[in-house]
């Protein structure tokens, strides 16, 4: 075997270990008896360690070097694979194994501390674990060559090749508009009928109906209940999404549509990339563009509900039989400043993300003492959304990310939302009658367009290069802002 074939084979093994790890995570959150948690931690740790050891082995380093000398077409599958391997190898060998181990240990402990602190709504109980995780992240940053800002190095792990300054520029462009729209939309839209009796078995059937309606290859997906919705799986023909069913509301509907978007991305990577590190989504941001596209551009749109609302009413005649479609669509698009990011509407969601992005930069640059974080959090929520935070559980402790040292992750949620509108508009241009097909309940045109223009690249290129190939442009806030203005700039019919 030549160097390239041997490198491919090594990378397939590493990708296999990652895929199995994802399955173990899925199992842990859906099926595993709780008493097995410690053993499960051991097993996921083992697979991660074996993959890491493979990656940083001198043999793989040499195979990458030899493959680079082949001067492969950078657009080819193999050219992209070698580029991705180089990137992963260089990062992995830069960080000492002992620090990787410390970070993973601190994340596990931080997570536990966060669970307890959130339950007690007591930030002070979380503070020592947070300090430890932040300190380790700063040591992680120091392993690398300095970049324009230290935060760049953290961001790069979640959104490759994206710069903090660029994110800041986009967010600053968006912020005043969101603040204005959020303030504007304080008047009442009736959404009382979204709280009511929605039997769980019918919600579960609805989730499956949606996944089948949007479309998948046969016998390749699962939908299961979990406290926190997510998408995982062990390959393009083993897609597993989860959702949270509440007996008194329809939140599961949008969670399912959102996770369908994530699942479809993995489902439609090309068979040729399927078992390689290039055979997955390009970044968290681009992944989020897919989930947000289905959730918001499809799932909260007029055309979709013109098709689907009678079906929803048929499932829940008691709760929705007497509610006209126009009132329903207005209700699911209601803008209302609130405390919790994951329940926020399309307009205020971005402000939740921005305040986290800003605080993270303050943390990394030492501009805020960690013990003052709740105060800083509460002040920003008041500034941007005009609401008061009653306690830490509903404020600074609401998200898990920081407890595992994941600093740089949050911004990808909003970057993805911004990109979702660019991608949607490119699809509209190409498909022409996209709205009409959705109104007919036909999702193949959109699904196939995404497959061809976004998913087909897998992780071959950087997220921005992938976006450029899909839409003709790198990230741009203007389409997103125009969309928000069109949709939320004037009161919707109540």
């Amino acid at each position: 075997m030549d160097a390239l074939a041997r490198l491919r084979s090594k990378l397939e093994d590493m990708h296999g270990l990652d895929a199995v790890t994802l399955l173990l995570v899925w199992d842990q959150r859906t099926m595993m008896p709780a008493g097995a948690a410690a053993t499960r931690g051991r097993h996921t740790g083992l697979l991660q360690r074996l993959g890491h050891e493979m990656l940083i082995s001198p043999e793989v380093g040499k195979l990458i070097e030899e493959s680079e000398r082949l001067d492969l077409d950078p657009d080819s599958d193999d050219g992209a694979l070698v580029r991705l391997a180089r990137r992963a190898f260089d990062k992995a060998v830069t960080v000492p194994a002992s620090l990787v181990e410390e970070i993973s240990q601190a994340a596990a402990e931080g997570n536990q501390a966060w669970v307890e602190a959130k339950e007690a709504s007591d930030f002070a109980r979380f503070l020592p674990a947070l300090e430890r995780n932040v300190e380790l992240r700063l040591r992680y940053v120091e392993c690398f060559e300095p970049r324009a800002e230290p935060y760049d190095i953290l961001l790069d792990d979640y959104e490759p090749e994206m710069e903090t300054a660029e994110v800041r520029r986009i967010f600053e462009e968006i912020k005043p508009e969101l603040v204005a729209l959020a303030a504007e939309r304080r008047e009442g839209v009736d959404d009382s009928f979204l709280t009511g009796d929605f039997p769980l078995d019918r919600q579960e059937a609805l989730s499956r109906e949606l996944v089948d309606l949007f479309g998948t290859r046969p016998a390749t997906w699962r939908v299961d209940p979990t406290p926190h919705p997510f998408a995982a799986g062990a390959g393009r023909d083993d897609v597993r999404i989860t959702t949270h069913y509440f007996p008194d509301n329809l939140d599961s509907l949008f969670a399912t549509i959102h996770e369908y978007g994530h699942g479809l991305y993995e489902h439609q990577v090309p068979e040729a990339l399927a078992h390689l590190p290039t055979g997955t989504g390009a970044s968290l941001g681009l992944h989020e563009s897919q989930s947000r596209l289905w959730e918001n551009l499809v799932g909260r749109s007029e055309p979709f509900w013109r098709f689907f609302y009678p079906r929803l009413q048929a499932r829940f005649p008691e709760a929705l039989g007497g509610v006209e479609r126009e009132r329903f669509v207005a209700a699911i698009n209601k803008v209302e400043p609130s405390l919790i990011r994951i329940h926020a509407d399309e307009v205020t969601y971005g402000l939740h993300v921005m305040l986290r992005f800003e605080l993270e930069q303050d943390i990394v640059n030492g501009r805020v003492e960690l013990r003052d974080l709740p105060e800083a959090w509460n002040a920003k929520i008041w500034d941007y959304l005009g609401v008061e935070v009653p306690n830490d559980a509903q404020g600074v402790l609401q998200d898990m990310h920081w407890s595992g040292g994941m600093i740089g992750y949050f911004s990808t949620y909003l970057l993805g939302t911004v990109m979702s509108v660019q991608i949607w508009e490119a699809a509209m241009r190409d498909i022409g009658d996209l709205d009409e097909s959705i109104e007919q309940g036909e999702f193949a045109p959109l699904r196939e367009w995404l497959g061809e223009h976004v998913h087909a690249y897998g992780r071959k290129f950087s997220p921005q290069e992938t976006l450029r190939r899909a839409t003709g442009s790198t990230i741009d806030a203007k389409p997103y802002l125009a969309y928000l203005r069109r949709k939320y700039g004037a009161p919707v019919a109540a």
Copy 2:
């Protein structure tokens, strides 16, 4: 780290890969979308290959040698671990990687061929795959130093250190008695009420009730439905048993009790061995002794049903409300020669196993042409059980084992059954009022006795040494024969 500590750490990694593989197998049979089968094969193959590469590495060979020089107490955990590692290492380095690969490939293809042949009830369609698998097994045998008989080498993979001659001796001792008992018991026992309406949800609740009644540590077990019942899991606190629910009979009840026995063995290996190759059952035979003990000695006994029958009646009042306990116990112990091993009663089950054991020896010693196997099979069934085989699906094609080249496996079913009675009688001697406690619905005494006298050794010793420590004797058919004579020698009340 010294050599022993490093060896332990390597063996923990290998055991971890095995545990994850078991979880993948469980997932494949219970949860996985069917379309993911090819990728799953890739992933289990990867984990097996990584474990095999670890085991045969020169580094591990050297660590074993160095650890052996420590002259550890052979009864100690570490002494047993080094002995087990030596055994596994020597076996693994003896078989060329290419043959391992061929065997695994032929097994996968053989399985597929068997499924199709069984569906068509056409042995000829299975013959080429069987020939290939047998040929590879014979090549496997040739890798090793000759032993008294070639079959010894195959048997050793399933029942370590057991000799074919010993199995033959035991089986020959048992056979005439079983043939006689099976012939004797041809008169009618009414079991018509075991066929009827047994709603699936109530059977599922019954399975969970039984597992809880027999006892487990909290939040450590799952019970799921599958076409073929099995026990698996990823550790002593992650035990997963499955059972097959039929809407018109209660077979699931005994399947659940049987799998509980397997699960409990893994559940009660000591914490100190939990993550090591010594932390599992000693052999297939000893594992089967545990499942058969619970299924037959507990689950088909008078004392158990004196306690549990009212509860069963309460679950199925329509089907069993008018059936007295004595009639029920007679029915679940009915002896009736039949075609299918997995549905056979306690008496005829052994004959099903023996005919397979005999045919396997004929195969390995070239005394039967594989194309004549159906004929040889049917003749033996007629000799031992007096029934005629109507077609291959209900004859030679009924079991999956040979399709994967698993020759030597079947005998462990009967060895386990024989040992189950020895273990039961040792427990009776030690506990004294075992029957009384079971009649009170108290299973802790039996569970704890098994934990202390059988499960505590894990795989530290050979199965026969484990049995000797538990019961004072190695395998002995006499208690089993005496038990059968007591139970089946005179007609039970009908």
